[in-house]
Structure formats: structure tokens, C-alpha cells
């Protein structure tokens, strides 16, 4: 009974901590939609396979939010027809490459300058790698079906046939929200879309928090940290811990501080790199962006990349 009560409290803690950041992300996405005509800036984003994810990754400096807040913004980018590379670069790198997260990492580890360089650099590399991987697949195999439909509505006819759009003579009429792309959306439209988006994402956040709370209560964390000094095992253990704990990237450095002395440097970096890209809380939120196969690919590729970076750091530091 005690343990159930503890699970319930952990669930509430995770939820109440994440909810403001989710709201912040939706607010920023809504404001961008309201203030800036969509096509004007999305058309200016580079479509070059290398440049696109780099620009996306750097866009995080304009959004000081953690990974929960990034999902609605990335979804809006994709829905509005932004290049896939830019949206993915933003989604995977911005939770680390933003002023708040860099400041909190510096505050937690002022005596470890290597971490202040390796964390943003590692996040950048992982984001570029994941973007490069996902853009190899056809959009229809990567993007969630509702998002794909919305994205196709927003693509110029020169890029996409009526058949693919599912509109025109044989398809559905265009929804109200995707008409005038060069005009500003009305406040009512933005409020309507954002409020729906909030409730959709909230339901998935609830699921993620519930899973994370259950796993945390029933899996002793000390098991994961017992392998702290073994180079490869410590990296794997801390990667698993990052997935389970699911704390926001804006505060994960302070959590890492608690066990920094017990684990290898590579494991510490692995914890700080993987959590913002893959964790139990995010698993639900990602379903509004990706198909299950793409989520699995992202998780596997990110884990592999983080493991390699962690090993490399251990080789240099140990």
C-alpha cells in the first residue's frame, strides 16, 4: 500500500513539474503561428540535407524549454511544411542547445569544463545523426498519419499531387485551419488549435508520467549504479537510468550531480545526452510525431550514438 502511495506521489511530482514546460512549448508554437505568417519564414528555412538539421538544432536558442515543450513546436514545424531535417534537428538538439539547459549544466558542474563543451557538442552530433537517418525514409513511413495529412495540406501543389494530398475532386475538402498560408491566422483559430493540441499532448504526457512513476518505484536505482566503475556497463546503466527517470533537460544536470562521483565520465555524459532525446515520459509524446517504427529507430540509433560518445569520452578521460 505504501508503495502504491509513493507511486502516486511520484506521478504527481513528474506531472506537475512537466506540465508548465508543455504549456510553454504550446504557447510558443501558438504565438509563432499567430504573429508570423507561416509560409514567410518556413519557405526561408534551408532544405540542404546538411544545413537543414544544423539550422534546426541552433533554433533551440530561441526556445528555452525542455523536451516536453519542444514536441508541440516541432509538430507545428512539421505540420506547416518545414523541411524534415530542420524539424528533426530542432526536436533532438534544442532540449540541450538552449540557454537554460546550458546554464543549469554550468551551474551544476562549474569545475568540469569538458562537460560544458561535450554536452552541447554531443547533443548536436546526435541530432544531426538522427535527422540524417530519419530523412532517408519516405515521409509516410516516419510521420504519424494525422500529422502527415496536415503537412501535405500545407505543401505547395508543385511539390505534391492532389492524390497525395487527399484533396480536390476525389479527396476531402481542405480544413479551415490550413487555408491562407501567407496571411496571419486569427487569434480564435490559434486558440482553437492550441487548446486541442494541449489536451492531446497532455493525455500522452499523463501516460508517460504514469509509466515512469511505476518503473521508478519498483526498480531500485541502486541496482543501476552498482556498476558505476565498469566503463561500458556504467554507460549502459546510466542510459537506462536516463530513460527511466524522465526528468526535464533543464534540471537533469542537478540530478546527475548526485551520482557524478560514483560513475565514469562517459556514463555521466551519456545520462545528460540520452534523457533529452529518449525517455519514458517522451515515449507517449512522440506518438503525435512519429510512427512506431520511427520511434523505435530513433531510440535505438540515439542509444547507439550515445554509447559510442560515452565510450570515446571514457577512453580519453580514464
Amino acid at each position: 500500500m505504501n508503495r502504491l502511495a509513493t507511486t502516486w506521489a511520484l506521478f504527481q511530482g513528474l506531472l506537475l513539474e512537466a506540465l508548465p514546460f508543455l504549456l510553454l512549448g504550446i504557447a510558443i508554437a501558438g504565438l509563432a503561428r499567430w504573429l508570423v505568417p507561416q509560409r514567410l519564414w518556413i519557405d526561408r528555412l534551408p532544405r540542404h540535407p546538411v544545413l537543414a538539421p544544423i539550422i534546426g538544432a541552433l533554433m533551440g536558442f530561441a526556445l528555452p524549454a525542455c523536451e516536453c515543450g519542444n514536441v508541440p513546436v516541432a509538430r507545428r514545424l512539421l505540420a506547416n511544411g518545414a523541411p524534415l531535417g530542420t524539424a528533426f534537428g530542432f526536436l533532438f538538439a534544442a532540449p540541450v542547445l538552449n540557454p537554460i539547459v546550458l546554464a543549469s549544466t554550468w551551474a551544476a558542474f562549474p569545475n568540469q569544463p569538458w562537460l560544458l563543451i561535450c554536452r552541447p557538442l554531443g547533443a548536436f552530433l546526435i541530432a544531426i545523426m538522427l535527422s540524417a537517418l530519419l530523412v532517408q525514409l519516405p515521409e509516410a513511413q516516419v510521420l504519424e498519419s494525422a500529422l502527415l495529412a496536415e503537412r501535405r495540406m500545407n505543401q505547395p501543389l508543385s511539390n505534391l499531387s492532389l492524390l497525395k494530398r487527399g484533396t480536390g475532386v476525389i479527396g476531402e475538402p481542405l480544413p479551415e485551419t490550413t487555408t491562407a498560408k501567407t496571411e496571419r491566422l486569427g487569434f480564435k483559430q490559434v486558440l482553437d488549435q492550441s487548446s486541442r493540441e494541449f489536451l492531446d499532448l497532455l493525455a500522452l504526457l499523463l501516460l508517460g508520467c504514469l509509466i515512469a512513476a511505476l518503473v521508478q518505484t519498483w526498480l531500485p536505482r541502486s541496482w543501476l549504479l552498482q556498476v558505476g566503475n565498469a566503463p561500458t556497463l556504467s554507460i549502459l546503466a546510466l542510459m537506462l537510468l536516463a530513460i527511466v527517470v524522465s526528468v526535464c533537460s533543464s534540471v537533469d544536470a542537478f540530478l546527475a550531480l548526485g551520482f557524478a562521483a560514483q560513475v565514469t565520465p562517459g556514463a555521466l555524459l551519456a545520462f545528460l545526452l540520452l534523457g533529452p532525446v529518449v525517455d519514458l515520459k517522451l515515449a507517449g509524446l512522440f506518438t503525435v510525431l512519429f510512427r512506431p517504427k520511427a520511434i523505435a529507430m530513433t531510440a535505438i540509433a540515439a542509444s547507439f550514438g550515445v554509447l559510442l560518445i560515452g565510450q570515446w569520452v571514457n577512453l580519453l578521460q580514464l
Partner: protein, 217 residues
């Protein structure tokens, strides 16, 4: 209408969590303001959505309703975690202290400050005989003797880390796990498992209610 109502309900949940001081048990203090402001913003948005769609009937997807039900459950069932259960799944790994607690008179040091001090300065003889005035919950991990402990958080309950001090409990006292106690006494150096450690020797032990802010930064 229903959509606005659900958003306002979530807003009220956040505001209520701040007003009822529930957050003291769940999140570090620096986040409380953010939660409150988010709650107010959600209530305003919820009212705006309601007034704009007052006569409109729209289908309500079941995940929204399930979310609303969860919000009601969270409102009705306040958190009541077992601190011992939480501590049992965590390693005792406090961060390096930003400043040493030696600058404080010993009787003013909190339990967490004592733990940080003893970890940063491993020679227990330096604190031998110091007065102690601390409060915490009884923590018993496995077969080891019961300690007096606190949970520290950097973010929320999910990253709570225990900080405990060994206690030379009176022979006629069997400390109850999870019970909150205020202890006044002195530090004494004892040999335990072949190591010299600083142990709290209580002069008075007072059962207390769980403090309003049981988590320490």
C-alpha cells in the same frame, strides 16, 4: 464548451496544488511560481475557449475525458509518499556542498548540512561533542541500523536522494520507520564496522508531525 472546461480544470489543479501547499511535498521551491503562473494561464485560456464556444457542441475524444478524470483524481487524492520506500530505491549520493557548513554554529545545522559536512570532511573527531538539533524521518535500509534522514531534491520527488545520520538510539526505544522525530543531543565518535564514524547521541527525542516542507535542496 467541454474543451474549455477541461483546460480550466487542469488550470485549477495547478493553482490548487500551489495554494494547498501540496507542491511543498512534490517539487523544489524554485518551480512553485512557474506552476502557479501556468495554472492561472490555463484558467484564463479555458474561460476564453468556453466563452467562444458556449453554444457549440463538439465531439470530445476519450483521451481528453480520461485526462479530465485523472485531474479529478489528482485533486481528490493528495500525495502521501512513504519516504522510506523512496529512499530505499535511491543511492545516497549528495552533491558536493557549495559552501561548508562549518561556518554555521553546530546547533543550527540541519540534518542535510550535517551529512554534507561529514562527507566533505571525513575526520569525525572534528565534530566530536558538537551539539546537534535536527529533525528527520526514521530510515531503515536492509539490515543496517535505523538512521535519522531527510530527502533532498534538485527538481521533483522523482530525483529525491536520501541523506542520513547514524543514531545511538536509547535501549528502550524501537524507532518506527517513517516516523518524524526532532532530536537534540551531541555528536560522538564511535567505531562501527571497523570505521570511526560520527553518531548522534540523543538527549531528547520528540515525535513531530511531518514538516510542511519536508524536502531539502
Amino acid at each position: 464548451m467541454t474543451r474549455g472546461l477541461l483546460i480550466a480544470l487542469w488550470g485549477w489543479l495547478l493553482v490548487w496544488s500551489v495554494l494547498s501547499r501540496r507542491l511543498d511535498l512534490l517539487l523544489r521551491g524554485v518551480f512553485h511560481g512557474l506552476v502557479g503562473v501556468s495554472g492561472v494561464a490555463l484558467i484564463v485560456v479555458g474561460i476564453a475557449v468556453m466563452t467562444r464556444n458556449i453554444k457549440q457542441r463538439e465531439p470530445v475524444p476519450w483521451p481528453w475525458l480520461a485526462g479530465g478524470l485523472m485531474a479529478i483524481l489528482v485533486l481528490l487524492l493528495p500525495p502521501n509518499p512513504s519516504f522510506s520506500d523512496l529512499a530505499a530505491t535511491r543511492p545516497q549520493g549528495l552533491p558536493e556542498p557549495l559552501e561548508l557548513a562549518f561556518v554555521l554554529p553546530p546547533e543550527q545545522r540541519t540534518l542535510t548540512e550535517w551529512v554534507r559536512l561529514l562527507r566533505s570532511q571525513p575526520d569525525p573527531d572534528l565534530v566530536d561533542g558538537n551539539p546537534v538539533n535536527i529533525s528527520g524521518f526514521v530510515l531503515k535500509l536492509g539490515e543496517s541500523p535505523a538512521q535519522i534522514a531527510r530527502l533532498t531534491v534538485r527538481c521533483c520527488l522523482a530525483d529525491a536522494t536520501p541523506a542520513g545520520l547514524p543514531v545511538a538510539w536509547p535501549k528502550d526505544m524501537e524507532p518506527k520507520v517513517n516516523q518524524w522525530l526532532a532530536i537534540e543531543g551531541r555528536m560522538r565518535v564511535e567505531s562501527r564496522d571497523g570505521q570511526r564514524v560520527a553518531v548522534v547521541v540523543p538527549e531528547t527525542i520528540q515525535p513531530i508531525e511531518r514538516p510542511l516542507r519536508p524536502l531539502e535542496p
